[in-house]
Symmetry: C2
Subunit: 260 residues, 2 copies
DNA sequence: ATCGCTTCACGACCTATGTTATTTCCCGTA
DNA sequence: TACGGGAAATAACATAGGTCGTGAAGCGAT
């Protein structure tokens, strides 16, 4: 349990990384930034494949990803799993649970991961105290919602290869990889987990991955993704990063114009 | 353009219906309630099948459904459509766009509908002025997100009949139908639109609907849904209404405890 | 090195759902 | 009362992706 006190080195700490992300889309004053950096946290380490929040469990903490990959999962009556979102370092996996702690499904670590737990009370308090923070958090939740929306389109209406290509493009952008020519990143998830995210069988993930490889678009080997031609992969995945972009422009000038 | 002034008759007006919904999950003072009722609105009538917000269009208004059914839609490169959410009277179809006006896809009326447009500026202003309203709006957006999450699970991992059953159950609950024994409601959407929501072909919607009918679970005739046995349909659709429930309990006592 | 477990690779076969096309039903309108 | 257009109902056929089964390949622990 500690709050990062040094605002200048904020970018290096987990809370600093989170603040950084938030500020790509919202404008915050120094006070507000500090309030976020001062949130009390509790570090938790997780094994790979560890379900740490069960479906229908009601939690009192949100969880900030420090390292690894965290996923939210839903489950069918017959036990089929659907990963409904994936969270990378610097992201809050369930910020929304601060205002609505039910109906979020379970949470699991796709690989060995470290998270910071932050109590809902602290989050709601800082949001109530600083309206701009409330709006920033709200906006961050809506980014997540926009991603979810893309996933629904992806799963509902695209074929296997397109779907996977889209996912790999999205993760690349969210990891901040510059999308020019080739790039690579670590993404230590199994084909089974990939299937749970893309709503298909691990067998078919395997087939499709090899097909994408045969087309010269990307290579996935033991948790490392190599994109050979960004442009071609994005085309194959029908990927348009608009929904992920920083979007603070419309809000920059008019933050907090409280009349009266 | 009018603001409903009479707070006592609030329940009857569209804004009153919206406020009502919000208050199922959040506690608001009389002032705050009034501030919502005073939001300036603009009425718009829509034909059935009218796309009134195009994909990637950036809007300056959120839209409150007065009557009819409004849907958000995404689209594939080959033109396949995916309905990503459906909105019934009393709901705000895109409240989230107030804080994040991009990446929400298009909006369309599934049948002749009436909406109220409310400017993003007005929404953000009332939210900044009353932290409790910000939290309430944020929470309402998260309910929508929880629904979206269920849709992803539904589309990704359930078969056609289960999927449709789930949708009909959800709509029944959202329309406030009491879920005991039989019930019916108007839901004037075509099988094609149903297919766009459930991620399948209209042909297969037809097949599956007849199968559900043959199982004695429900009848769908020209925009009217009749559920014959709620329990059985809910079981067939693996429907658990938890994610839709009013959930203000944890927030009731501790609203706005701003510690300086 | 060797064991044991997990993940990856791949083949054979099966089925839920998509595709395409035609017919029937409904309902508003002339 | 007949006409016209959109939905709904069906039928025949095609296919993407699921299921089941078997090895091979990594990799960590002994």
């Amino acid at each position: 349990m500690q709050g990062s006190m040094d605002v200048s080195s904020g970018e290096q700490t987990p809370l600093g990384a989170f603040l950084n992300r938030i500020m790509q889309r919202s404008v915050l004053t120094a006070d507000e930034q500090q309030a976020i950096l001062d949130l009390p946290t509790q570090t938790v380490h997780l094994r790979g494949k560890q379900d740490f929040v069960h479906i229908n469990e009601q939690v009192a903490y949100s969880c900030l990803v420090v390292s690894g990959v965290i996923a939210r999962v839903g489950q069918t009556a017959k036990g089929a799993r659907q990963i409904t979102s994936v969270h990378l370092p610097g992201e809050m996996a369930d910020l929304h649970s601060a205002v609505r702690p039910i109906g979020l499904g379970g949470m699991t670590a796709l690989c060995p991961s470290t998270i910071l737990r932050i109590s809902h009370g602290a989050i709601r308090q800082v949001a109530a105290r600083f309206p701009a923070i409330a709006e920033a958090f709200w906006r961050d939740c809506m980014l997540e919602s926009a991603i979810l929306l893309q996933w629904l389109l992806n799963v509902g209406r695209r074929d296997a290869q397109t779907r996977l290509a889209h996912i790999f493009c999205e993760v690349a952008v969210r990891l901040g990889r510059n999308r020019t020519a080739a790039c690579q990143y670590d993404f230590p998830v199994t084909q089974e987990q990939l299937g749970d995210a893309a709503a298909m069988t691990s067998v078919h993930v395997n087939r499709s991955l090899r097909a994408l490889h045969a087309r010269g678009l990307l290579t996935v080997t033991r948790g490392r993704v190599t994109i050979h031609q960004w442009e071609a992969l994005a085309r194959a995945g029908e990927f348009d990063p608009t929904y992920l972009l920083a979007d603070m422009e419309p809000h920059r000038q008019e933050r907090l114009r409280i009349s009266v």
